[in-house]
């Protein structure tokens, strides 16, 4: 086979593969989570009494729409609360009285953080902490409550 033909076919192969890689990284994967995060996102913190089984890389959603991801989970040595670090896309701003809640997708699905904006006029800045939080729903506690309610009746 002629050298030019081989070059052409290899070129087609490489272009095809690059298109596929582009498809995989743009259409299949979420755009956040790699590299460009530092430039186009800002960090928020939230303290929770109980994070349930929330994991790093869990989505942060507003009305079910993904606006960011959990990048770190640590423990505050003084208050014994879990500190969740979130990277939020720059495009989305939240008021200072926003609240954060840990919810579950479906009954057994993955846990995520749901943000709810408030009515304040000021917006949270990079490094701010969300103070109004409600912890993850833990099935055992729920059943416990239910049982005590039942027995007290």
């Amino acid at each position: 086979m002629k050298r030019l033909t081989i070059d052409f076919l290899v070129g087609v192969f490489v272009l095809l593969a690059i298109i596929c890689l582009g498809f995989l990284s743009i259409n299949v994967a979420t755009n956040s989570g790699f590299g460009n995060e530092a430039k186009q996102s800002y960090t928020l913190y939230a303290n929770f009494n109980n994070i349930g089984s929330l994991k790093v890389a869990a989505p942060v959603k507003v009305s079910g729409f993904v606006v960011g991801r959990v990048v770190n989970i640590s423990l505050d040595q003084h208050s014994y609360q879990a500190v969740v670090t979130m990277e939020i896309n720059d495009k989305y701003k939240f008021t200072t009285d926003s609240s954060a809640q840990i919810l579950t997708t479906g009954l057994l699905g993955e846990q995520y953080i749901a943000l709810q904006s408030g009515a304040d006029t000021e917006y949270l800045k990079n490094g701010d902490t969300i103070t109004i939080t409600s912890s993850a729903m833990v099935l055992e506690n729920l059943i416990g409550k239910f049982m005590t309610n039942m027995s007290s009746k």
Binding site: F13, S25, A57
Partner: protein, 260 residues
């Protein structure tokens, strides 16, 4: 006494053989790495190898990927239906492909399609004294034959894996959206929700690069040690496919444990 000696020797034999092969492969890797710069002076040789091992494998990779994706779609649909979460189908298909099946099956198909060819080619070159002729002409077979194949493999396998994954996701799409009438918006958005570029896509590419190196090395090594007879070459191609598949699966376990 003699009997015990023989039995213990029989146990020891595969171990020593394994170590011998491993050291042979690692020495080959070292020789290839040392001679790497030379090959970039002759990019035409690498392009030729990408053509023979990559371009010629496109069809089998795309068709296999498409079918694997369809099977994942069917099985995923049947299982997810029981939990009422068929909308998760997209992420099931994409995650399975990107993390495991894409890199692993691509590498195994590559071993069968291109790796066996590499072994046979080198084995026959040896049998017909071509390698010897080359070294008498003061051209190192490692530089001229081995290294271009090596680089060609490293480049071709991740690209083929990307084709495999894409074909597979469209196969899953075909089953889920076209056949079972799922909402195509949910299919894609669930997928995008659960697949991360860093964890899944990039790690998959790293995996398939490592598999590419492994398969190509095994293929070249088996060609080199093949007995210069018709039977020897045919045995060597079989060994290439078998040991490539085993190494890829074992390596996949290690890489998965390290990555995810």
């Amino acid at each position: 006494m003699q009997k015990i000696y023989t039995i213990i020797a029989r146990i020891g034999n595969p171990v020593t053989a394994f170590i011998l092969h491993l050291s042979g492969i690692l020495r080959l890797l070292l020789a290839a790495l040392i001679n790497l710069p030379y090959s970039f002076l002759r990019p035409q040789l690498i392009v030729k190898e990408i053509y023979y091992s990559g371009v010629k494998s496109i069809l089998i990779i795309v068709v296999s990927g498409w079918f694997v994706g369809m099977v994942l779609g069917l099985q995923g649909y049947n299982t997810l239906q029981r939990f009422g979460s068929v909308s998760m189908l997209g992420s099931v298909v994409a995650l399975t492909l990107l993390r495991e099946l894409g890199p692993v099956l691509t590498a195994i198909l590559y071993a069968a399609r291109a790796g066996s060819g590499i072994t046979a080619e080198i084995g026959l070159m040896k049998a017909t004294e071509q390698l010897e002729a080359m070294s008498v002409m003061a051209v190192s077979p490692i530089k001229r034959v081995i290294v271009p194949k090596f680089i060609g493999g490293i480049i071709a396998v991740p690209l083929l894996a990307a084709l495999f994954n894409t074909a597979g996701i469209w196969g899953g799409y075909f089953v889920g959206v076209v056949l079972f009438k799922l909402d195509h918006g949910a299919f894609w958005s669930q997928m995008q929700d659960s697949v991360s570029l860093h964890y899944d896509v990039i790690n998959g590419i790293i995996k398939s690069s490592i598999f590419g190196i492994t398969v190509t090395l095994i293929a070249v090594y088996q060609g080199f040690i093949a007995k210069p007879t018709a039977e020897g070459v045919s045995n060597a191609t079989t060994r290439t496919v078998v040991s490539s598949a085993l190494s890829v699966l074992a390596l996949d376990f290690i890489l998965t444990a390290l990555m995810f």
